[in-house]
């Protein structure tokens, strides 16, 4: 077959990805987006113009060689495509699913100027899933160096750092506080967006590379950072403990039963598999009228989970499905969540209340939440964040009938890990201060940090990028013969 011309490539429409229908998917926790088949992937790959100076690469925080992996894919050389992809991104099956592509690699694709961009994320997912299906190839590992590194936290930052250091031949141990590795990927992001088997397959690959995982290990309690360095004999430590501390609403009534952080709600649903209660032991409250406060990715995940729990409940009992609201104090233009997630939530039946803010929560005589007073807002002048400041409209208060409120208003780093590590300086936001942003070196000797614990809540791919650059610097440090 002759090569397609640029004009021909430009004429191909972006290929939609198969997905479960909204009415069906809101009654289960299975994955919504079903991925491309080989023919679709090749057809989509044919849209890429193989730009000489590809802007898409610069849009990716880890600079995946996008045109190269796409060309290999369309030539049918999936092995080569995977190799190119994995040389920059060790967790492509995850990134292909959860990266905010529309603000990173895809937004700058040259096609985006006139038409829709190449579906880079979907192609990435296709290659990675193909690899997982055949049992995932284990990357080659260099000869042992005799050096030991401790990684704190098994989220994307820690996993990426572990992978690169293991490849370089170092002995790596990952200490994780929870019982399963994955960080937000397993406790926060729901199964219907990121199947846990995908995460565990990636972890399995690291295990085959010789990385040791120690679960139930809360650093700061079980061992301090100093103990890891001085008593346990680790040559270096990487902190990738994320930003797991929830913020609560500052209004009266937040401690009534039924008001919970998104972390609690999502952990019960995802990590503990609360949606399979009572086959799994951990319960999660299925509200009849749920309000999720906030409009980030976390809020969308909470709202869509609540909706599914409600439909499962209705199927079991014959009752009315749960009504789920997103309550957000700004307007649709300021919504921080990925466009696709907002779209999916709307399709599934989540109701959006914009320019609305809670002012008080009410409880009944048993201490159970039974209502929420809100106030309408209007947008004023731009604030520090550059977004227009929401201002309450006097006298516009009204009451909402709710029995569950999930608070998704952001998180900050959990200080537990810093116990007895005074040399480790932190910022006023509680994040770790790094002396060199390109390496993640902290103010404490032999200790690096990266991911949400440094930046505050951000993205999977930026956490991975930080894990990767720290690994490069840790490797340099470990191999430095003068140290």
């Amino acid at each position: 077959m002759a090569e397609l011309t640029i004009k021909e490539r430009r004429q191909i429409q972006r290929h939609p990805m198969l997905a479960q229908e909204p009415a069906e998917r809101r009654t289960n926790f299975s994955e919504v987006a079903l991925g491309y088949r080989l023919e679709q992937a090749i057809a989509e790959a044919n849209r890429c113009l193989s730009c000489k100076k590809p802007p898409c690469v610069a849009g990716c925080p880890v600079e995946v060689d996008i045109p190269d992996f796409i060309v290999a894919l369309r030539n049918g050389d999936l092995d080569e495509s995977l190799r190119i992809l994995k040389s920059k991104n060790s967790l492509p099956a995850i990134c292909g699913r959860v990266c905010p592509q529309e603000t990173q690699c895809e937004i700058v694709c040259v096609l985006a100027k006139k038409a829709e961009p190449v579906a880079i994320g979907r192609l990435e997912r296709f290659i990675a899933d193909w690899d997982l299906e055949r049992g995932a190839e284990t990357p080659a590992v260099a000869a042992p160096t005799g050096r030991k590194v401790a990684i704190i936290g098994a989220g994307p930052a820690g996993l990426t750092c572990a992978a690169d250091l293991a490849k370089a031949g170092h002995k790596v141990t990952v200490f994780e506080a929870l019982h399963d590795p994955g960080g937000v990927l397993v406790y926060g992001i729901p199964e219907f967006r990121l199947p846990k088997d995908v995460v565990f397959a990636e972890v399995g690959c690291l295990e085959r590379m010789g990385v040791e995982f120690v679960s139930d290990a809360v650093i700061g309690k079980l061992y301090t950072i100093d103990e890891l360095l001085d008593e346990k004999g680790y040559d270096a430590v990487f902190i990738g403990s994320g930003a797991g501390l929830p913020s609560f609403l500052r209004v009266p009534g937040v401690n009534y039963n039924g008001v919970m952080s998104a972390n609690e709600f999502l952990t019960r649903v995802n990590l503990m598999k609360g949606y399979q209660f009572p086959e799994y032991d951990t319960p999660v409250k299925v509200g009849r009228k749920v309000a999720v406060i906030g409009a980030g990715n976390v809020a969308m995940d909470a709202a869509r989970s609540a909706l599914r729990l409600g439909h499962l409940w209705a199927e079991r009992t014959g009752g009315e499905p749960t009504v789920v609201h997103i309550v957000y104090r700004r307007s649709p233009a300021e919504v921080p969540a990925r466009a696709e997630e907002v779209h999916h939530a709307g399709e599934e039946g989540v109701i959006f209340d914009f320019l609305t803010n809670p002012v008080e929560l009410y409880g009944d005589e048993n201490g159970n939440l039974c209502g929420m007073r809100c106030i309408r807002m209007e947008l004023g002048e731009p604030d520090d964040s550059g977004r227009r400041r929401p201002i309450p409209i006097e006298g516009s208060e009204f009451d909402m009938d709710v029995d569950v409120v999930v608070v998704a208003l952001g998180t900050s780093p959990n200080p537990l890990v810093f116990h007895n590590a005074d040399e480790l300086e932190r910022t006023k936001w509680g994040t770790v201060k790094v002396v060199d942003e390109t390496t993640g070196l902290t103010t404490k000797d032999r200790v690096w940090a990266g991911g949400d614990v440094v930046t505050g809540a951000a993205t999977v791919i930026s956490a991975m990028g930080a894990g990767k650059s720290a690994a490069t610097d840790i490797h340099r440090f470990l191999m430095d013969s003068d140290r």
Partner: protein
């Protein structure tokens, strides 16, 4: 996996397990707790470290069978193992030399009060202890508590052993007789007992420490499910506690929060019982 090395049934519903967890034992202190999970489907259950042996590498836990998970744990045998055993969590009890102190343990709360009483006695305090339970069968560790205390009062709600009284009755008498001498009170037991201990000691102005047992998930400050309302604001029991000044606690809210999952707990229990029936029918 964390193996059970020893099992002692104190009563039909109270069981002691000695679990192999050397790394946890290395760090354990009185007042701290662990979170355990039986298997891959299990809930994360907080339990106080009732005792520890650093050399043997073991942690002793005592559980009262109140629902699905604790029932299932009660049925575990020597050689069985927990899938997960996280700890030590929370803050250790602050042991100072104060003078005379009272330690109150109610029901399964006798387990966690024991290492505290022992540490206070070793720390040079005069320790008066009160232990109580609904009936004789639910009492345990009378001998250990006697050893860890200078004076010991034993009571049961129904009078089947010791004095027929709630723990607050002897506590009130002690405070009336020698209130000036008593420098501090520790109380651990069911929420309702701790609430009434707080109400009993408040008029005497004696600082009272309780160890709260809210519902938890992670035990590391990540979910906020364990939060308690104090006069100074909300705190997380798992990382800020579990010990708090009893006179600061909003008890009504605390007791209400413990009841939040009543309906689901009942369903879990029924599900477990039905599974057990299937098992017995098959064997």
């Amino acid at each position: 996996m964390y193996e059970i090395l020893e099992k002692v049934a104190f009563s039909d519903v109270t069981t002691m397990l000695v679990v192999k967890a050397p790394e946890v034992a290395r760090k354990a202190q009185a007042g701290e707790f662990v979170i355990v999970r039986i298997d891959d489907k299990g809930e994360r259950i907080p339990l106080t470290i009732a005792d520890f042996d650093r050399e043997a590498g073991t942690i002793t836990i005592i559980l009262q069978e109140v629902g699905k998970s604790t029932l299932q744990m009660g049925a575990m045998q020597v050689g069985d193992a927990f899938a997960n055993f996280v700890g030590p969590l929370g803050h250790a009890t602050e042991i100072e030399k104060l003078g005379s102190v009272v330690c109150v343990g109610g029901g399964v709360g006798i387990a966690p009060i024991y290492p505290i009483a022992r540490a206070l006695k070793n720390g040079g305090n005069h320790v008066i202890s009160i232990i109580g339970a609904r009936d004789k069968d639910l009492l345990f560790w009378e001998d250990k508590m006697r050893e860890a205390s200078h004076e010991l009062v034993v009571c049961t709600d129904d009078g089947s052993y010791g004095r027929k009284a709630l723990v607050t009755a002897p506590l009130k008498e002690i405070l009336e007789e020698r209130g000036d001498e008593i420098k501090r009170v520790w109380a651990i037991g069911p929420g309702i007992m701790m609430k009434f201990v707080a109400l009993t000691t408040e008029p005497f102005g004696v600082k009272t420490i309780v160890s709260l047992n809210t519902i938890m998930v992670d035990g590391t400050g990540m979910c906020g499910g364990c939060r308690v309302q104090l006069k100074e604001g909300a705190k997380f029991v798992c990382v800020d506690g579990p010990e708090f000044d009893a006179h600061q606690v909003d008890w009504e809210l605390l007791l209400a929060r413990q009841r939040f999952y009543e309906e689901e707990e009942q369903r879990a229990l029924e599900h477990y019982r039905s599974l057990l029936q299937v098992e017995t029918a098959q064997s």
